[in-house]
């Protein structure tokens, strides 16, 4: 292709993309078909199609999972609305970037000792809280200590158990010491609980009135109704293009979609998958369908019959038709899992051969385990995932072909996490996206983890986990994670049938960069300061 022809093609594609006739994915595949490399195509997209961000406007977002019990206590954050707001009015030491990498936020740089037992974070000197107070090492230490120690009520406590001490080194440097090497510590700092808050004189933090150092400050917060925010002029970073943010808590999927269609809001955080295709037809609306690391797991107690036999577990893993579940339960907004808890958009994802539905193989493993047929009970509740019970019923139909009889038990929504999960031998669980394999494995697959939901004990896996934790060499680390994924694929106690997408929608006049983060809804909760009005 000649140079001239090529540039005309690019112009045409850019026009198509600007008018919304083709989306980024199509643009990229045309670009690659036209002989460009992926990175050139990506560059073209950002330089030609997405115009420079403009400032101004009030960004109104319909957010789901809002409650009248919405709290500003960072240790108790749990609902989606709380996590979203936390990213708007508060800031973290580090962030997950739009490309799902690790980037600076209130810390500008960080470095580790060779054994990864001592981390030094340099803090941003320009950062300030909404009341104008400068952000210093004292605040960072108090904010992290809130999630440590015997008195802490924080749900993030298990993340920081390895931390032995946090010290200040001058006003803008903190040094974190750990009892064991921990290469992922900067990633952990993006956890939604670990917001930076102003310290009181006694080393505690002040979370009650919604203080923070985020891009926007709260003007008016009505729990479960709405939150109004306005730009924090002293914010330490680029972005925050909107003048004002209005978050409206819309729990009913229909109300959310209607509000978007009638123009009462500019974007919504979650779309009802059943009507996704109808919403796509609306010309004013753009869907953001983002593959995420949020997984469904079906843990089986490996120390309890019949799951104590690896062949039984394999039989159950082969007896599920993942493709059909993605199609029928998620309406295409997800991807099949491969029985290890690392998704393709997480770092260190190994390309292991996808396990597919195979009733014959399931029957074979069942026989090797010494069963001619199998009866198991699977507990689920629809509060975990809308359609959870349906998915289990579909699974039980798949498994019948292999001579496995799965009795699906619908458990009460209330108290599912305290009475069913970790208590019953075979359950349905949904996990939010975690930034790194180490984070996920340490939480739910390590032999002595409080949440080792399948009671899986694998000496080699645990040995590798500890090694990889302290390994700063990327190549060696990747190899370790590959082996660990293979181990959970072959021997592990959890069936991981699917990864769930984040599906949001926005009015076409709301623009964002070439890619968006998949850590949380709405660009990892950071669309509020990354996006803009065309």
């Amino acid at each position: 292709m000649t140079q001239k022809k090529n540039s005309r093609l690019i112009d045409q594609m850019a026009t198509d993309a600007k008018t919304g006739r083709i989306n980024r994915r199509e643009f990229m595949s045309y670009a690659i078909a036209a002989g460009m490399t992926a990175s050139t195509g990506s560059l073209l997209w950002s330089s030609n199609v997405s115009a420079a961000p403009k400032r101004g406007g009030t960004f109104r977002v319909g957010v789901h999972d809002g409650n009248t019990t919405h709290t500003h206590d960072p240790g108790k954050y749990a609902a989606v609305a709380e996590i979203q707001l936390a990213h708007v009015h508060r800031s973290y030491l580090t962030e997950i970037t739009s490309e799902n990498g690790l980037g600076p936020d209130m810390a500008t740089s960080w470095s580790a000792s060779p054994d990864a037992k001592k981390w030094t974070f340099t803090l941003n000197k320009n950062a300030s809280f909404h009341n104008g107070q400068k952000f210093t090492a004292k605040d960072a230490i108090a904010s992290l200590n809130y999630h440590r120690g015997d008195k802490s009520t924080s749900a993030a406590k298990p993340l920081l158990t390895a931390v032995t001490d946090i010290k200040a080194d001058g006003d803008h440097t903190i040094v974190i010491e750990l009892s064991q090497g921990f290469a992922d510590l900067p990633w952990i700092m993006t956890d939604y609980h670990l917001v930076m808050l102003p310290a009181n004189a006694d080393g505690t933090i002040d979370w009650k009135d919604g203080a923070g150092a985020g891009p926007y400050k709260i003007v008016n917060h009505k729990p479960g109704v709405s939150t109004n925010l306005t730009r924090h002029d002293g914010w330490h970073r680029e972005g925050a293009y909107f003048d004002k943010i209005e978050m409206i808590y819309l729990n009913d999927p229909n109300a959310r979609q209607t509000a978007l269609i009638t123009g009462d809001v500019d974007a919504i955080t979650s779309v009802d998958l059943k009507t996704l295709n109808l919403l796509k037809r609306n010309r004013n609306i753009e869907i953001d369908n983002v593959a995420s690391g949020s997984a469904i797991t079906l843990p089986m107690f490996c120390d309890q019959a019949p799951f104590d036999n690896v062949d039984t577990r394999l039989a159950l893993k082969y007896a599920i038709d993942r493709e059909e579940i993605v199609k029928k339960i998620l309406f295409g907004a997800g991807s099949p899992g491969n029985d290890f808890h690392v998704s393709p958009n997480m770092p260190y994802w190994p390309d292991i051969k996808q396990r597919t539905y195979d009733p014959d193989k399931a029957r074979f493993h069942l026989k090797r385990a010494g069963h001619s047929s199998l009866d198991v009970t699977l507990s689920a509740a629809d509060s975990v995932l809308p359609g959870a019970v349906d998915m289990c019923v579909l699974y039980s139909e798949h498994a019948k072909a292999a001579g496995i009889n799965i009795n699906v038990k619908r458990e009460p929504n209330d108290g599912y996490w305290s009475d069913v999960w970790l208590k019953k031998p075979f359950t349905f669980v949904k996990w939010g996206a975690r930034p790194t394999p180490d984070n996920m494995f340490t939480l739910a697959y390590k032999d002595d983890a409080a949440w080792n939901e399948s009671h899986w004990q694998n000496a080699r896996f645990n040995e590798l986990l500890l090694q990889a934790k302290a390994e700063l060499n990327e190549k060696r680390r990747a190899d370790m994670y590959r082996e660990m994924c293979q181990l959970s694929h072959d021997d592990g106690g959890s069936i991981i049938p699917i990864f769930v997408n984040f599906v949001g929608a926005r009015n076409k006049k709301v623009q964002h960069g070439p890619s968006i983060a998949s850590s949380w809804e709405l660009d990892g909760g950071r669309g509020y300061h990354r996006w803009w009005f065309a």
């Binding site: 802490s152 749900a155 298990p158 479960g224 009638t262 209330d414 409080a450």
Partner: protein
């Protein structure tokens, strides 16, 4: 009139006693629910240590009677305690939401009650005609359809297709009354559709009941026109049951609107009660339930007083 005052005082006293009993029942019911606030708030993130720490901070490690009487001690002096989740006073959390609920209920009642009684009189007048049948079928259909379904149908036509009214009934304290009325028209209309049938049919039934009485026959023989027979002769005697049903429906407008609140995202008290029960936030649950109970007690009292006032025989007992 002194007798009525007597009745009111007596009934209010009994009402307070009822509230006390209800508060015990609610406390017991919340205690019986599996899990407590620490487990509910921490959810998947609950560990033994942080649950124990939170229980200690909130004083949940003390025995149930101790906690109840502590709450009661505050409540009699008008202090309903702090929300366990937000740590803010309950009155602050509930105040605005309850006034929103009241606003919507009054709005709906202002439309529903006159329509229901007027329709009731009309269908009694034209009983067993096509008009009677159609009015009955329509109102019975609207009462039989689930509220959220009615709400969705209204949203589909009035806001998505015709764009006449907003689908989200989000209101602020600083809006003008007219804005508020426009914003909340669809939820109010939904509630009107739900309550009209009951009141209309009761009006119709109690009027028709009386039409067989000798004094009505007398009036007819005298040559009084049919509408006058109903409005002037039967209606005054039919008020008692109608007032009762109206009171019942008014109470429903306040206590039974959670679904409407959810669909229209209306910041009322129902949603707050549901959220607080899920989180086991006892002081808020208690306050919401007591408000609901007091609503029923007061409206029942009002209905009885109304029945007495409209009936001379009860007004002047021997």
């Amino acid at each position: 009139m002194g007798d009525i005052l007597n009745i009111v005082i007596k009934r209010l006293g009994l009402g307070l006693l009822t509230l006390l009993v209800i508060s015990v029942i609610i406390f017991g019911a919340v205690e019986l629910l599996p899990g407590d606030i620490a487990e509910a708030v921490l959810g998947q993130g609950a560990t033994k240590e942080n649950v124990a720490a939170m229980r200690e901070q909130l004083g949940l490690d003390r025995s149930a009677p101790v906690r109840y009487f502590e709450w009661l001690g505050g409540a009699v002096t008008g202090d309903f305690g702090n929300s366990l989740v937000s740590q803010k006073p309950v009155s602050e959390a509930i105040g605005e939401r309850f006034s929103n609920t009241l606003f919507l209920a009054v709005y709906a009642a202002f439309i529903a009650v006159p329509i229901a009684i007027f329709l009731g009189i009309l269908v009694a007048l034209y009983r067993n005609t096509v008009f009677d049948r159609v009015a009955n079928i329509l109102t019975l259909t609207s009462i039989s359809a689930p509220e959220f379904f009615l709400a969705y149908v209204l949203i589909l036509f009035f806001s998505v297709k015709w764009g006449m009214f907003p689908a989200i009934a989000k209101i602020d304290a600083d809006m003008t009354l007219l804005d508020k009325l426009e914003r909340t028209f669809l939820p109010a209309l939904t509630m009107v559709l739900v309550v009209v049938a009951h009141m209309m049919r009761m009006t119709r039934a109690s009027i028709i009941n009386l039409l067989a009485s000798p004094y009505v026959e007398m009036a007819r023989l005298k040559g009084v026109p049919a509408w006058k027979v109903i409005v002037k002769h039967t209606l005054p005697n039919a008020w008692a049951p109608i007032i009762n049903v109206v009171a019942l429906n008014l109470a429903y407008l306040i206590t039974g609107v959670v679904l409407v609140e959810v669909v229209f995202v209306y910041p009322g008290i129902g949603q707050m009660l549901v959220d607080s029960v899920t989180k086991r936030d006892f002081p808020v649950v208690q306050a919401c339930c007591l408000i609901f109970a007091a609503t029923f007690i007061l409206l029942n009292l009002a209905a009885d007083i109304g029945a007495i006032l409209t009936n001379p025989r009860l007004r002047h007992p021997k």
